[in-house]
Point group: C2
Chain length 184, copies 2
DNA sequence: TGACATAGCTAACGACGTTAGCTAATCTTA
DNA sequence: TAAGATTAGCTAACGTCGTTAGCTATGTCA
């Protein structure tokens, strides 16, 4: 045997798991999601690729773990931001721009809702709902706008001469004074 | 030799190219982008995988060709739609929902701007710019919103109980009466 | 002490994109 | 018409990917 083996207390088990997630995260942030391969992941923590399957059922499970971390960090980054569309959009944008690969992981992959910590989704949505005076539909539209803006910027889809600050300002204007919701 | 070979007039060359693109398109629409593999693509037109490299430099080139078709069809689908946010968003949504895989191909891939037919991008943007009274920044924000809405719906990211129609209505409200642009 | 669980390992499978090199058919040219 | 050049197929192979099977050594526990 090369290193320690055997039963490996739950603690050790968690250590290796955490170590693998940390390694995956490093690969993601520095080289993007494509750099996360089973063999490279193993090499990063000093084991062979197939041994990873002792800790995760498959590669998607590793990415799911990363996804949860990403969502929680994103939520953390938005704590303390004023409940305004402009402020929330700016905060989200800032976080996404400093973690572009993580943002893509969070958004370009089918989400595994069942294993997200319960309440995480609501907690993430709360500030926008507050900014929209409790109008959940409006909050979801605003969410789509912010996500769309960041997606387009990250994918370099705005024309090279576009004034992106002005686009964010325009969005803020739109959401600052929407027509009042019609009576239902 | 199995079939015809030799010089193969430019016409025949184009035929095979078009045939391959059509096959790729069929695979995309019926099974998604992952179903487009070199070997399956070849099999679909009766040749072996590697022969595809006589017609395309690599797989990305096939996808690029599909992308161009997708953009043009999307532009076509929006022709005749009134220049309103609500109408344009509805038209875009309708098209995306009937071509979900194509929509993902258009949006989840780095775009190869250099080989898009020139003007296509502007032509696609024109209706939204008109709907926003010529305010290009506002038009781009609206674009981000529509794309974000469709992305979220296609990825099943709205909570299962969300009223998506209401979300579109809210977005339309936001863009229907934005605050006037501040004087510059 | 012996049974069991576990975390490593190697070897291998099938699928992927891609390259190298061959062959046969056609077009062009002398 | 004969020779040469182009071309569109082909097979075989490479390296990488995720994943599985099966072995082995270690540690815990009755």
């Amino acid at each position: 045997m090369t290193t320690d083996a055997g039963t490996a207390s739950p603690t050790a088990r968690m250590d290796r798991r955490a170590e693998l997630i940390a390694a995956a995260r490093h690969l993601l942030e520095t080289e993007g999601a494509e750099a996360i391969t089973i063999r490279r992941l193993g090499a990063a923590v000093g084991i062979r690729g197939p041994s990873i399957y002792k800790h995760f059922p498959n590669k998607a499970a590793v990415e799911d773990a990363l996804t949860i971390i990403g969502f929680m960090e994103l939520a953390g980054a938005l704590q303390g931001v004023p409940f305004t569309f402009a402020a929330l959009a700016g905060g989200y944008r800032q976080w996404a721009m400093s973690h572009p690969h993580m943002h893509r992981l969070l958004n370009n992959r089918p989400i595994n809702r069942s294993q997200l910590p319960i309440g995480l989704e609501d907690r993430a949505a709360a500030p926008l709902v507050a900014a929209c005076d409790g109008d959940r539909a409006m909050a979801r539209a605003a969410w789509a706008t912010i996500k769309g803006l960041v997606d387009l910027e990250l994918a370099h889809r705005f024309p090279p001469d576009a004034d992106i600050e002005a686009v964010y300002a325009a969005a803020a204007r739109a959401y600052a004074s929407p027509s009042p919701s019609p009576p239902t």
